[in-house]
Assembly symmetry: C2
């Protein structure tokens, strides 16, 4: 493929040029028929599938992530693009609503028709830990393109060549569908990132990364003369609660599951179980300790490795914290480490409940349900909350606390692994996200849409989704009643 | 009614007490069956209808708004509460979604079920210009209660007694439905307003008022350690475009319509047509001028009157601006004033395109379509945009510009009068709002909801909306397919 020879230099561009081009493309993309938008998403998916064998080794070398996981991630990425093509064709995402005129009402009601339209050019900040699925052509890009919004991606510095090559594949696929070049662009570098979120042409931004980095960009978005929505998917400790009865029933299975979950991808997943609450006096820590492998893995970036080492050093030195298993590696590498803490240590050192990105988890021994609930609520927000109970414990009071703080509540499972489906939710209360939306799954599209109503519009002035005869054959709400095509 | 004797002192409370009580009520309100939530909304509506004859004279005396408009506004307010009761019972607002497990997928997919749940206690800032429909029991309150979120309203100082009495009616109605007292509270005063949006228990805020006031509160919301969504419905000039062909067909009718629309409620409506674009060389200004009444009306507050007088004085003094009709009154009163300007004056003095709250409108004489489009786009955002063309002009290029900047595009009508329906949209790009949502109509509820997914949950742990048998009989998306009950 000729596009694969494109260099980094060619495939990134200045922020001003990228956003100007995106703004120029916005109307054409918004007005393109839904089937063309769906075809574009499937075209990108096909092109990435085709390029996968060439992209994976590059990403493996840049990130240290195993090639087989990356191959799976390419499939996830293209599956994601195809799901959004389905979402576009199904048409519910438009929220098409028709209220016919009611001449006899007081006051008389005009004909009103409403749908969601693309918000305009959006900024996407790629993540380090998914060089495909949350990067150049990842879920944020796919959901924005599905919404009909031109995308300017800020590439992550952790995998520059992967980004440049994926960008070329995406641009070629968009061009071959006959859609405007401004539909998609990539910019590069820290300064480009801060410039992008402040660019007047950008109408919304989505970010996956650390709470600190996300907060800085959120603040820039909020401080604009014209503030824009900033959808940050940030840090999360993803609390797990295990009851005594669950341990009685399946302690070894739980220990196996935990070790697999927190060490997967070297613990560099936003849904890694970071804090696990187990009953005080149980031998669960010992069971976990015996299972922790000593595998040394390269972390994604030197900065992630530095933060991992220094946080572990700090946490392990706190009163009431013990090292259950593992010993920290050095430099850019890491080996799994399990810490344990008393609830009193947590109360004295709330930083224990901050996310530590990398292969480590913290076992907290709880004495009482009240203590446990208070600590859970103090977490404030998490992408996920997991409950391991025994049969008959479905109504356990701690589940209510997990529902209050988490975006996804799991039963008898582990939070790593986020299926891309219609019903997925990835995003919870602050500090896990800045959003009342999801960044994974069908409804992620809603972030890049704004409502637009037409009052007393002649048919010729209406978008097809709102024309009386329903030519797009989509679900619509007509005079308050949801009607299927 | 004993509650009507409640004094202002009794019906407002400290911010900390109100939010603590709201937080304590949140779970009970969230878990109450939907039919109880709907009954609460209808109970409040009935109580306000009953109290209407007593409330209207108080509001009339406090605001200077005519009693007959206020009587209509009470009906609008209670109609709004009843619409949200219908929304709650219909159940689509929950966005219930079920993805059954797919064991054979790679990787295997767990069972995932998602719905929207109340975000927690919300802050509502009442408006000056609708002492019922956008105040204590107005659309924001109704949509938040429909979402299942406890409400703390910051009363508007322009109608304190109306607020206190309405609050007592609402509190009594909620108590008589057996719902917790923390469901609803009112706080009072400027400091309470700034404290409220920063209170850690408040999870979202909605505001109707000026761009300046809304921006100040938006900034406080964004600067919190845990930022929260701030839904501001702010200022808007609601541009109107009239073509030559429309003037040829019905100039007098257009002049009548404009004068009625910009003088209704003394021009103190957020959808007042503030800028009207007419072809250069037409006699439309003279036709409008002949129709402008000299009626002097009291404005809502002394501060609104001061701003009105000083803005009119400043604008009328600008080069290229002429007074077409009317002369400003003095003190707290105002009479309708029509200004006109050239497009050159607009280019030199962009402040002409800022909202002037009160009975005034600005006619802008455009020379070319390009000039007109450029000025429209420079407005950035508006609640509404209106097009008056002739038959055959439905595809006029200016309509695209109106779609780009407005939340509601009207044809052959006037933007004042916002029907409360399923398909209404009240909210547009900045500076008309800070939101990708509406503050009027059924989907206003979405502002106070957050998504929550359940993974592999046993039936006993699921909310009723997600139980397999669909006991609530609501529309749900099952394995990607929208299914009606």
């Amino acid at each position: 493929m000729s596009s694969m020879s494109t260099t980094t230099q060619d495939s990134t561009t200045s922020v001003a040029a990228a956003t100007a081009s995106a703004a120029a493309a916005a109307a054409e993309l918004a007005d393109a028929p839904l089937e063309r938008r769906a075809a574009m998403l499937r075209g990108i998916a096909d092109a990435i599938d085709h390029a996968g064998p060439e992209l994976v080794p590059i990403a493996a070398s840049e990130t240290g992530i195993a090639a087989d996981r990356l191959t799976g991630e390419v499939a996830r990425t293209t599956g994601q693009l195809r799901l959004f093509a389905d979402v576009v064709e199904e048409g519910s995402f438009l929220e098409a609503t028709i209220d016919h005129a009611v001449a006899g009402a007081t006051p008389p009601r005009p004909d009103l028709r409403r749908l969601l339209v693309p918000v305009g050019p959006v900024a996407i900040y790629a993540a380090s830990n998914f060089p495909f699925a949350f990067s150049i052509a990842g879920g944020d890009t796919a959901s924005a393109l599905a919404a009909g919004a031109p995308v300017v991606v800020k590439a992550h510095p952790g995998h520059p060549e992967t980004s440049a090559r994926t960008a070329a594949v995406v641009s070629d696929a968009i061009a071959s569908q006959g859609l405007p070049a401004g539909t998609f662009a990539v910019v590069d570098g820290f300064d480009a990132g801060t410039e992008l979120v402040q660019d007047p042409r950008i109408r919304a931004a989505a970010f996956t990364g650390s709470t600190r980095g996300g907060r800085a960009l959120y603040d820039l978005a909020a401080q604009r003369p014209d503030p824009i929505p900033f959808y940050g998917e940030l840090g999360s400790v993803n609390p797990v609660v295990i009851t005594s009865a669950a341990l009685d029933a399946r302690a070894d299975q739980l220990a196996d599951g935990l070790v697999t979950s927190f060490t997967t991808s070297a613990g560099q997943l936003c849904t890694k179980p970071g804090v696990v609450f187990v009953p005080s006096g149980s031998d669960f820590a010992a069971r976990v300790g015996r299972r922790v492998p000593s595998t040394v893995t390269r972390l994604l970036t030197p900065s992630i490795a530095d933060t991992f080492h220094s946080r572990l050093t700090d946490l392990a030195a706190l009163d009431g914290v013990e090292v259950v298993a593992g010993s920290d590696a050095a430099g850019g590498d890491a080996a799994p480490v399990v810490l344990s803490a008393t609830t009193r240590a947590i109360a004295e050192h709330p930083e224990l409940l901050d996310e530590t990105f990398g292969p480590t988890t913290l076992l907290v021994h709880y004495e009482s349900l009240d203590d446990l609930t208070a600590i859970l609520l103090s977490i404030g927000g998490a992408l996920s909350g997991t409950f391991h109970g025994a049969e008959g414990e479905e109504g356990h009071p701690v589940v209510a606390a997990l529902r209050e703080i988490a975006g996804r509540v799991l039963f008898d499972g582990w939070p790593t692994g986020v299926a891309v489906t219609w019903g997925q939710q990835h995003g919870g209360p602050w500090p896990s996200s800045t959003s009342l939306h999801t960044s994974v799954g069908a409804s992620a599209t809603r972030r890049f849409l704004r409502p637009l109503a037409f009052q007393s519009a002649p048919e010729a002035a209406l978008p097809k989704a709102l024309v009386e005869s329903n030519p797009l054959a989509i679900p619509r709400r007509v005079d308050g009643i949801l009607v299927l095509p």
